[in-house]
């Protein structure tokens, strides 16, 4: 049964990757939008922002990556919703395949496509002055945090896709997620924000994630932030996964 699950998941992963590569607009929004933000903050707002750093692109990079992921996962909800609407979901569910593979195919696609857009964004960053002195281990840690963040948001997207009643509903859940980095330490230090906003910014997950990634990339000590970041990601991931499975069972019985 487990070998079936691996075979079925990889076949469905291949299918869903084709969906990604064949819809140019998704590729464009997933990479172009964050790159536009990167350029905007670097060349337009950056000059006026006192981030206390001599390389503002370095400062921006973690937040830009999180924005890219938050907008990228919404397509997972959208694709899943479409599968349910056009009947292919039911075809899969009446076939002798591992049932979990129907969801995992989409989830792994999200990891792959968000991984690719992250690489493209970092590449663009390098062109406009992003530099990191981090070693292999620190890069691995950054990759791990981003992957866990992607996984957590992807399961949220799966939940949205399974429970939405319109295609817009299936992707709209990500709008607030895309917005979260703006009220965090991603673009400006939280110390400049007024009291309540600052309290929110300092205690929401994006700040701890951004701070840990920034520290790792800058070869600074990460401190306790990384544990808070990991706890947020793992917590959201577990809860969203459990809720998505419940929604999936409801949907298929």
């Amino acid at each position: 049964m487990t070998t079936h699950a691996v075979n079925d998941t990889s076949v469905l992963l291949g299918r869903s990757i084709k969906h990604v590569t064949r819809s140019l607009d998704t590729i464009i929004t997933v990479t172009i939008m964050p790159i536009a933000f990167l350029l905007l903050f670097r060349y337009v707002f950056g000059g006026a922002i006192q981030a206390g750093t001599d390389n503002y692109v370095n400062y921006l990079m973690p937040g830009i990556l999180l924005i890219a992921i938050a907008s990228g996962v919404s397509y997972t909800g959208f694709r899943l919703f479409n599968d349910m609407r056009n009947g292919i979901f039911e075809r899969f569910n009446s076939m002798p395949i591992a049932r979990s593979s129907v969801l995992w195919g989409h989830v792994l696609t999200s990891l792959v496509s968000n991984g690719i857009s992250a690489v493209v964004i970092v590449g663009t960053g390098l062109i406009i002055g992003f530099r990191s002195s981090a070693g292999v281990l620190a890069w691995l840690a950054v990759t791990g945090i981003l992957a866990l963040f992607t996984l957590a948001l992807t399961w949220l997207a799966v939940l949205a896709g399974l429970t939405a009643s319109t295609p817009d509903g299936a992707s709209a859940f990500s709008y607030p997620l895309v917005f979260l980095p703006f009220v965090s330490s991603a673009f400006v230090p939280t110390a400049t924000m007024p009291g309540p906003v600052r309290a929110f910014a300092e205690n929401q997950p994006v700040t701890s994630i951004v701070d840990s990634i920034r520290a790792l990339l800058d070869r600074q000590p990460v401190g306790g932030d990384i544990w808070i970041a990991l706890a947020w990601c793992a917590g959201v991931c577990v809860v969203a996964y459990a809720l998505a499975l419940i929604a999936y069972r409801r949907r298929i019985s």
């Binding site: 079925d8 299918r15 084709k18 056009n86 292919i88 039911e90 075809r91 076939m95 002798p96």
Partner: protein, 252 residues
């Protein structure tokens, strides 16, 4: 020997709407059974329960000897289901759709299977095009082709020829007859009574939640008063039997 499909006292409601109120149905191995019924009679509901997509409220149903509630995985390994609306991947090409199903069913040589089926369903030229460019009839043919992969012993076809042109319809009929000839059990629903008349070994009529009559065409004819003496004596058509048993007046 047990039947390929056995349904006993099957009940299903959607909220307050009682759709199936005790359906009994048996389908012999290797036979073609047509399930008839007006719009909303519950044909699709029966098919979805047999295909493990929906759980019954009461009663039992088994397919290929396996209970649909207790052993859904074994049932799924024994069937393929072509739903009422084509379930194909719009973004993939016709060939890729077939290869996808062949890989999921783990049949050897998925590419060769796909090429063969494209030819069999007159889709060879369109095989490399995304399905989003297909006509309704082409989609339907692809949909049915996808259901044949892996030679499952029991096939459900929910209105397989709706929307097909006469030629494509005849092609699908031929495929269904070949399947039954090869020992596959086919349960199909249809709105076309001539289709049931031509294809089915037995016919079951679902009306107001139960199977009100079932049998061979000859048996069903026997239920009606003997053919009226007209200028030319003729057998009642299935359409007449259908309309008489569901208690509707013929409009003409």
């Amino acid at each position: 020997m047990e039947h390929a499909i056995e349904v006993r006292a099957l009940r299903k409601s959607y909220g307050k709407l009682e759709v199936l109120k005790g359906v009994d149905l048996e389908v012999e191995r290797g036979s073609i059974v047509a399930l008839l019924g007006s719009n909303g009679a519950g044909k699709t509901t029966v098919v979805r329960i047999l295909g493990t997509l929906l759980k019954p409220d009461a009663g039992t149903a088994s397919v290929n000897g396996f209970d649909v509630v207790a052993e859904p995985a074994r049932v799924r390994a024994s069937i393929s289901l072509t739903g009422q609306f084509a379930a194909v991947d719009e973004i993939l090409t016709g060939r890729e759709n077939l290869v996808l199903i062949a890989k999921l069913r783990r049949v050897p040589k998925p590419q060769a299977v796909a090429v063969g089926l494209l030819a069999r369903f007159g889709l060879t030229d369109a095989g490399g095009r995304p399905v989003s460019t297909y006509s309704g009839g082409m989609r339907r043919r692809l949909d049915i082709a996808m259901s044949l992969i892996g030679d499952p012993p029991v096939i459900f076809l929910d209105e397989p020829t709706t929307g097909l042109d006469p030629e494509a319809r005849l092609d699908v009929w031929k495929v269904i007859q070949e399947l039954a000839g090869g020992g596959t059990t086919v349960l199909l629903t249809t709105q076309y009574l001539d289709e049931a008349e031509k294809l089915a070994d037995r016919i079951a009529i679902l009306h107001e939640g139960t199977i009100i009559v079932s049998g061979t065409l000859a048996e069903l004819r026997g239920l009606l008063p003997p053919a009226k003496v007209e200028y030319v004596e003729r057998q009642p058509t299935l359409e007449e039997i259908f309309l008489a048993t569901v208690g509707r007046k013929e409009s003409r």
